[in-house]
């Protein structure tokens, strides 16, 4: 290859990369603010690019509490803790691969169903991992009737987020 091509190629590539680096800095910042609004909406595994992609945002606790409010409002909790019934949403737990939030259905103090409101969805791969792990974690939770369940191998982050959110839902139900 001619020297001119190499020189020109290196300069052009460097320019393109610098532009990319500069542009790349901006959305990473805006994405964090977007994550706070994105996760409160509670739409689970839509693979949008911007919303769910922030790393370990500090805004997660805000979004978690706001969504758990909406969860508890739907509960019809009455009577003693042993015969509690209703639907309880756990706090959204922020993981490296996106927020995880689960909701439990309780009938007479017994967990009858666990549904994932949000699962890790930073990219196609983490989405797929969590899609595979969720049924296993659900089964484990229904059997154990608690958040003391085994993590699914290969889905460590999803499992951690799942159990944390599950525990907060159980706490909310007062089981």
């Amino acid at each position: 290859m001619r020297a001119r091509v190499i020189a020109g190629g290196v300069v052009t590539s460097a320019a393109v990369l610098v532009i990319g680096w500069q542009l790349g800095g901006q959305p990473a910042v805006t994405a964090q603010s977007g994550a706070a609004t994105g996760s409160t909406s509670g739409s689970s595994s839509s693979s949008g690019t911007g919303s769910s992609s922030s790393g370990t945002g500090s805004s997660s606790s805000d979004s978690g509490s706001s969504s758990s409010d909406s969860g508890s409002s739907s509960s019809a909790g009455s009577g003693t803790s042993s015969s509690v019934s209703g639907t309880f949403a756990g706090a959204a737990t922020q993981t490296q691969f996106g927020p995880v939030q689960v909701q439990i259905v309780v009938a007479d103090g017994k967990i009858t169903d666990v549904t994932a409101l949000q699962l890790t969805d930073r990219d196609g791969r983490s989405e797929q991992i969590s899609q595979q792990a969720a049924p296993i974690l659900r089964q484990e939770a229904l059997q154990a009737q608690s958040a003391k369940i085994q993590a699914v191998s290969g889905a460590t982050y999803t499992s951690e987020g799942y159990t944390t959110s599950l525990q907060s839902a159980i706490d909310k139900a007062g089981l």
Binding site: G9, G24, Q132, S153, G154, A155
Partner: protein
């Protein structure tokens, strides 16, 4: 020994010669025009090269602008990032390789298809390393992030949708590159290598699903996804257009068939062809086509063979030596056989000239493009000098025709017959080496000449090496590489 070959009075076998009238344009003016055209070609080549570089950078940039792509820290994050970048650059270069192999007319005209294939080859190994690094780094990165071992991570990846296809793609790429490495390729029959090479298309295609579903950069509804799909459509579209559609159109339009097979030396045959509007092929003297002869025994083998004469309106001629098993069978094809053609290709033409004078060196079957080039060039007396080389008298086929062409254009012609010197690495005979013959003594105006060399690879490399040492600028050296 060098002697001026005796001009022959025997008329040539194929039609009247073209370009015997000396052009009116003064030599210096023509040289300036050629030099300018040469610079334009070089600038286009540079631009295409820069574009290829920029496309690799663009692949990385599109990843950088993807929100959150490179904000992950930690060892696992860095490994993952490096793996993604390796995969993106590797994929981009695979597409560049496809374009280089697509025989795009623009690339052939400014760079030459043989040069394009040389670049294609040189990219093979680096691309494979990038793709292997992509798989390895991502596996390590993911396992570092998730805390599971690399093997568990591989199993997890394997059960992710589209990933088994991605592993298949990687396996195919390994197979394609390994079989293409020259050492292995010499041990493999050409056809086996070719069939395996076709698998690279499959490798490219089966890698696509995991990029689109698993890759975070190519998520639904992003313009990154649009860009990448456009690149794939471009690369595969060029292949489909110029390697499949265009050859079919050319073949159907010109309806070429064999008229006669004429043995002209031991193991050398001239194949006379007839067809419709063959002059509309636009074949220049010195170009080659990729030919396929539709008989039961030969249809599966495509032969890159030079035109040994400039095609007329309904006649063309190619000359073949039995270099391989497939070529040997060509001597036995019968008149009437249907022929399909890809091409014409090649920059071994007078269009590629950049200097005032012309120096042609041919050995063995390498005479075919040189003879056609001489026929197709408008020459002033004394402008061109031809040196024909053969190891013995049986290799003097087409020499009489070439001598006649040289005489009619007022060109000097030399012949050098005998085995290559044993006393040193030389393209000359022992006698001539001892006598102190050099390229510059044969071609006194070598430095102001375009040097066209065609012959066996090892031999022509030696000629080119001497020319470079003598100080011939690179743009004045034109080498036709005869390889299967």
């Amino acid at each position: 020994m060098i002697d001026t070959a005796r001009p022959t009075s025997t008329p040539p076998t194929t039609g009247p010669f073209r370009g015997t009238a000396a052009p009116a344009e003064p030599l210096e003016v023509a040289a300036v025009r050629r030099r300018r055209a040469g610079r334009r070609r070089a600038a286009t080549v540079d631009l295409l090269g820069i574009l290829a570089w920029a496309s690799a950078a663009m692949a990385v940039t599109l990843w950088l602008v993807t929100p959150g792509s490179h904000s992950v820290s930690g060892v696992g994050g860095w490994l993952t990032d490096a793996g993604i970048v390796a995969g993106l650059i590797g994929t981009d270069l695979v597409l560049v390789m496809l374009v280089l192999a697509a025989r795009v007319p623009l690339i052939d005209r400014v760079f030459g298809q043989d040069n394009a294939i040389a670049v294609h080859r040189s990219l093979g190994k680096p691309v494979l390393y990038l793709l292997l690094a992509h798989g390895l780094l991502l596996t390590l990165g993911y396992s570092a992030s998730s805390g599971s071992g690399p093997i568990a991570e591989t199993i997890a990846l394997f059960s992710t949708p589209d990933m088994p296809l991605a592993y298949l793609s990687l396996g195919l790429f390994v197979a394609v590159v390994v079989t293409s490495l020259v050492a292995v390729r010499r041990r493999l029959p050409y056809e086996a290598w070719h069939v395996i090479h076709l698998l690279s298309y499959a490798a490219v295609l089966v890698a696509l699903p995991h990029m689109l579903s698993v890759g975070s950069v190519l998520a639904h509804g992003t313009w990154q996804r649009v860009y990448w799909i456009a690149l794939y459509v471009l690369a595969l579209g060029l292949i489909a257009l110029y390697r499949i559609v265009l050859p079919i159109v050319v073949t159907l339009r010109h309806r070429i068939r064999v008229v006669a097979v004429e043995p002209i030396a031991p193991g050398v045959v001239s194949i006379h062809l007839a067809g419709r509007d063959l002059d509309a092929l636009g074949a220049r003297g010195g170009q080659y086509g990729v030919w396929r002869f539709w008989t039961a025994k030969t249809w599966w083998h495509a032969h890159p063979v030079s035109f040994s004469a400039v095609p007329g309106r309904d006649r063309a001629r190619i000359t073949v030596r039995d270099l391989g098993a497939g070529s040997a069978r060509l001597g036995r094809i019968t008149p009437g056989t249907t022929v399909s053609l890809e091409g014409p290709y090649g920059l071994f033409t007078s269009q590629a000239r950049t200097a005032p004078f012309l120096a042609l060196v041919a050995s063995g079957i390498g005479i075919t493009p040189v003879r056609a080039l001489l026929e197709d060039t408008d020459l002033r007396p004394g402008e061109a000098t031809v040196l024909l080389r053969g190891s013995d008298t049986s290799q003097q086929y087409l020499w009489q025709e070439t001598a006649a062409l040289a005489e009619s254009t007022g060109s000097r012609l030399y012949a050098m017959v005998g085995n290559r010197a044993r006393s040193g690495e030389s393209w000359m005979t022992e006698d001539d080496l001892r006598r102190g013959v050099t390229l510059r003594s044969v071609f006194p105006r070598l430095l102001e000449s375009d040097l066209y060399v065609c012959g066996p690879r090892a031999w022509s490399d030696l000629v080119v090496r001497e020319a470079r040492l003598a100080g011939v600028p690179e743009h004045q050296i034109h080498q036709e590489r005869f390889e299967s």
